[in-house]
């Protein structure tokens, strides 16, 4: 069954020169890592892994690594102000979006759209926008690497790389121009 990834709903970005969107990243393999800054399994395992992934693919035009702060509990404790200090102290360098709070429930909008079960969650989206991996919990480096390597090798290289996409200025990889914000 093919499942296309819904769009991100993000209220604020860190480590990004401009807002990112999955529509704007079409053509790339996207690793979307959902976490909470007070989730021990994220802090001890999944976030360092995502940072390693980001550094590995930093200059790869066909891969984007994105974090998503999906706060579904302790909302007052994990505000954007706290997240900003957390990102600074843990030296996270990949783009991180704050999942948009819902008006009527604890679970934020993107988390609900994707049907995530909790944090950490790792979702991989292929260049055509299809969800090819959706895993809740901790992933092993080796198995995740093999899966990613395989997906990337099968993906066509992006046709053209726009100017804004070619560089990773300010330590972050901005999306191609023309994307929806």
């Amino acid at each position: 069954m093919t499942v296309f990834a819904p769009e991100l709903a993000v209220s604020r970005w860190f480590n990004a020169a401009r807002p990112l969107s999955l529509a704007g990243l079409r053509g790339k393999t996207v690793v979307l890592h959902a976490f909470q800054m007070l989730c021990p399994g994220c802090v001890m395992h999944a976030l360092p892994q995502t940072e390693r992934l980001h550094r590995l693919f930093m200059n790869h035009p066909g891969v984007a690594v994105i974090g998503l702060h999906t706060v579904f509990e302790h909302h007052a404790a994990m505000t954007p102000v706290s997240l900003e200090a957390f990102i600074h102290e843990y030296r996270l360098s990949f783009p991180i979006g704050v999942d948009q709070a819902s008006d009527n429930e604890a679970i934020p909008v993107t988390m609900r759209r994707f049907g995530m079960r909790g944090t950490p969650t790792t979702i991989i989206i292929d260049p055509a926008g299809r969800i090819v991996e959706h895993a809740f919990g901790q992933e092993e480096d080796l198995a995740l690497g093999v899966l990613l390597g395989s997906l990337i090798a099968r993906a066509p290289m992006p046709d053209a790389i726009s100017a804004s996409d070619a560089g990773c200025a300010e330590g972050a990889c901005p999306a191609p121009t023309g994307e929806a914000a």
Copy 2:
């Protein structure tokens, strides 16, 4: 040179049935662990170590293990509300005090009194109230264990254990009666 420990200045306690004070803990060997909830070296190493220490000495009448949240940066990001969620998510069970904010500087009151250089800091106070160890950075389990075991063995056992001191109700060790709050 003998240095006596100054008193704690704490604005709020977690995991404690009532406020603790070093005066009230006189007669015990006290391990005071100063940390910040967004300090990676604390989260990855020093806090799990302090939790192990707490569990090891939970029922030992001559030892108290105490945490102190010494926020000296990112004050808006590490409020008591955030700390409370952090303590809950990381399952910390030892008493933790919030170091009292200073009126005129970033460094909080107790941190200044002890002359701490940063976090994590481990301070050991003997039963007479003297500072016998003051270490900034990460400590090895083995060396810290040997030092503590040695100090405890040399210390006289507390003369009398008051009723309130004998138990560790609610997962925390209340101080002996008569202590200053």
Copy 3:
């Protein structure tokens, strides 16, 4: 520069129903891990990694994971008798060949043929028999996984899988019938 892998020279196999050869494994991606049983970097890092790789690809018809015991020092201490006990105690389940001792030097025959610099060494050979990776020292799981996943995805699947190849009886993956020993 294309470098074709020379053939293995192995005096004894463990965890293999019959002798393996690179010629017989043509058509598969081969991970060749060279180690010594008394090399700490192998024991602590590279051998557990190779075991994880083996378990990950156990049922994959296009991948073979092989160990090679390349003793180039302490020859009397690392005999096949010692190796056999080592393999048993460390629960290694992938096929392991003993690199054939040289008549006139400390370095064994296969190690010399490949120009290996020491242990651990990880060599990856593509289905056409070309060396596509030759690394001395410890490899990170994530980067190794990405490389392998990418190579495997690009490789054509083996045309036909012989009966002897389909199963991994006795905890090991026998080579296809017809291979040269």
Copy 4:
């Protein structure tokens, strides 16, 4: 129940200028670590821990850290020749004795005398020669450190330190003169 430690029966010493004996070490707290070079729990955990202990107490006149190679299986695989290379490759610097093989059973003589259940085993002997700890399996650094620190603090300091005892020449701590070999 007080249990006095039986004497060691050792066929060969490594990292020792002369043979050691428990009789010769009377007056010191002795940490006796029994291991096998092909025991993964020893290699991964207990031997690095013993090395750390040795370095911690290297210059402490009241403590001796000793290894004992208690081969009770795979005898042909764990000969003194193999052990010597193992000690060299793993950079073990504490004195290590080879437990004397038994004439009529797989379990060596010292292992039988102490009633050890397997490897790793950690035995602590107080200055009077009494066994105060006998643990089979892996020990946590913190708890082991506290126990050792406590025992050492309670022990009287050795009355006199002989010349041969004062130094740790050749990377090992020879026993006091007058000891039985």
